[in-house]
Amino acid sequence: MPSAIGAKSRKKTNWAPYFLIVPTLVYLALFFAWPMAQGLLLAVREEGALLTLRPEPQSSSAIAGRLPRGTRVNILDQQANLIPPDELSEANLVTEVWFQIRAEDAQGQPVEGWTPGQRIRVREVDDNGAPLAGTVRPILSSTADPLTPVYAEPDGNSAILTALESPTPVQILDQATLEVWYRISGEQDGQIVEGWAQSRYIQVLSELTQGRIDRGNTSMLTTRHIQRMVSDRFFWPAVRTTLLLIVLIIPVQFVLAIIMALVVQANPKGSGFFLYVFSIALGVSDLAVGIVWYSIFTQFGYLNSLLQGLGLIDTPIIYLSARSQQWILIAVWLAEIWRATAIVMVIVVAGLQAISREVLEAAEVFGATLWQRIRYVILPLLRPSLQVALILRTILAFQVFAVVIVLGGGDIVTVLANETYRQYYDLRNFNVAAAYASFILLLSMVSAIFYLRAVRTQEEVTG
């Protein structure tokens, strides 16, 4: 036994690192994983699409069936039930007030119980307007029971204690608010579904025997939001422009970033200056970059000033309008290259620094030209860095947003992130916005997997 304990204590886990990473894990779970899951759900779920019907007018009873929102229903019966106080703020409640009364029945016996408020004419109120006393109303209809029942509980299902005639005087002890439940029947997929539901979910039409399900209380998985997204008139233009921009921007950016990195690497003295200038764009927001390029491409901007100054044009050209989409694309293209090359450059410089000097010197000693060194030594050794930069850059490119709004006005030329924003902000359509967000996520993951795969197979082919 002692040896076993010894072995165990030698293998004792050091818990310190786990304590140290817990805050990060908790934070990312709370503000990353959970919202991400919520977002995916939001895209495929519809809140309140179905109304659950109960066999009894009780929320706790079993499920009789479900009807979708908007179904026409027949109202077969109605009954009031006590409503919890915290649900009184719900919209569209049809309520009844019941009084707890004390009175003498026909035999002169005192009786205490509950009765619907509409059956009592209130004759005395206190200072706050709360009823104190009244009389039982007469029932005028010839077919109905002329007596007013008194229930043991504020509930039409409870035992009837007695029945009072009009105009028995009553003392009002207390009152309760009840919500009306309807027994409804409706048709779904050729089947009749019947059951009880609360008034808040049902819009009663004028005849009082007809109604319509106004909202549901149960969510449903649906492809409706995705269908709405795909059939939106901006969807395909947004997909096209996003992908087109990625294809046009990324190759140029990588060539430029590698050149920048080589310049930084080649100038030990001047690299401080070059490094600073090349990385400025890393800290500039896409909104500011959009405005910078707007000042160049706007009708009375720098480009037209320059062209006119050189005598190449007589009147300013309008670049950023619905009729010149290609110019908007060019402006966005330039702005994105200006802004987002810096991050690729930094990753490439970090990769270059990891390449040992000896390798580069050896290539130089053996007479390799600059191009040969880049092609056969530097680029192959940079591959891991380039792969990471490619993945990161592509994913960031799917999120391009403010540049396009500034230069393209938001609807002439549109991208996926802009559509997400429009659906959320202008159209207040959270579900479709979440569908767009999920679509961007899907595209990002597909492209990341594609790059990882592509690089791996290339390695397998080359050796």
Binding site: G272, G283, L287, A350, L370, S385, I395, A402
Partner: protein, 296 residues
């Protein structure tokens, strides 16, 4: 140059062929050095000229901003009228205050949460370390900005929608993965032997961290914090989605873009750029810690 001098053997021992190779290398080096300066200056112009444009638009009179054709020489006439007009516009000063508050909360939160994790990654070998690192990298690679849609719905339900604190929570999620990776590389750059030595001389682990490691890593942590500040200051998408009344500066500029004049827009663009121009200068040496780390 120094490298060449080191590798060069004594002159009396080398053959003429080797000398020729050296001459060729030197010539080639001078040529590529000159070429790299030339290319570097060209690229610098490409980066700097647009900044010069927006600066000269922001620091001149509104009348000059509207004039056409614009002068070739920038900053004539030099005037703060445009900038002042922008700063006096509705919602701009509160927006700047909100932006700064959000950015400060974000950098404090993300540094406090990320520093222990970064330390754990760099100092301990523990089961699940690689999985943790990989998941942090994966989170970094997610399009985190799109989280703002579900977060907005959650925040509305919880009742903290349209609050700058809620926005700071979102920005912290945005910055956290990068901060963890950067701080772990900052800690890795301090040899563990220093800590060990302090403990040999009687420091507790906490004291060793406090008196030996912390002073050494503070510049790196500060650089990471500045980068987080800039990240939050620049963020537009989540800021626009998560706020209505309490807008940050970029959100305010974006939503009023369509109704605003060109002097307002240009001054706004310039104003948003200022922190980048200043802060990137101070942290430029640390940028490789930040992004280089990601490739490992």
């Amino acid at each position: 140059m120094t490298v060449t001098a080191d590798t060069q053997p004594a002159p009396d021992q080398v053959s003429p062929e080797v000398k020729a190779i050296h001459r060729r290398m030197l010539r080639r080096r001078r040529f590529s050095r000159a070429l790299s300066y030339l290319v570097g200056i060209l690229i610098s112009l490409w980066v700097l000229i647009p900044i010069l444009f927006i600066t000269s638009m922001a620091l001149t009179t509104p009348a000059e901003v509207r004039s056409f054709p614009k002068g070739v020489l920038p900053l004539i006439p030099l005037s703060f009228d445009t900038l002042e007009f922008f700063l006096r516009s509705r919602g701009i000063i509160p927006g700047i205050i909100n932006s700064v508050v959000v950015a400060v909360i974000t950098l404090v939160l993300s540094t406090l949460i990320a520093a222990p994790a970064g330390y754990a990654i760099s100092r301990f070998v523990f089961r699940g370390r690689d999985a943790f690192r990989l998941s942090i990298l994966a989170v970094r690679a997610f399009p985190i900005v799109i989280l703002s849609i579900p977060l907005a719905v959650v925040f509305i339900n919880v009742g903290i929608y349209d609050s700058i604190f809620a926005l700071a929570l979102m920005h912290t999620a945005l910055a956290l993965p990068t901060t963890v990776l950067v701080l772990s590389s900052v800690f890795s750059s301090i040899p563990y032997e220093l800590e060990e030595a302090a403990m040999v001389f009687g420091c507790s682990p906490v004291q060793a961290f406090r008196h030996v490691v912390l002073p050494l890593v503070l510049p790196g942590i500060a650089a990471a914090a500045i980068f987080t500040f800039v990240l939050s200051w620049n963020e537009v998408f989540a800021a626009t989605i998560l706020t209505i009344q309490n807008r940050t500066l970029p959100a305010q500029v974006l939503v009023t873009l369509n109704q605003s004049s060109e002097p307002y827009q240009f001054a706004g663009g310039f104003f948003m750029m200022i922190p980048a121009l200043i802060f990137i200068f101070f942290i430029r040496r640390y940028l490789f810690n930040m992004w280089g780390q990601i490739t490992k």
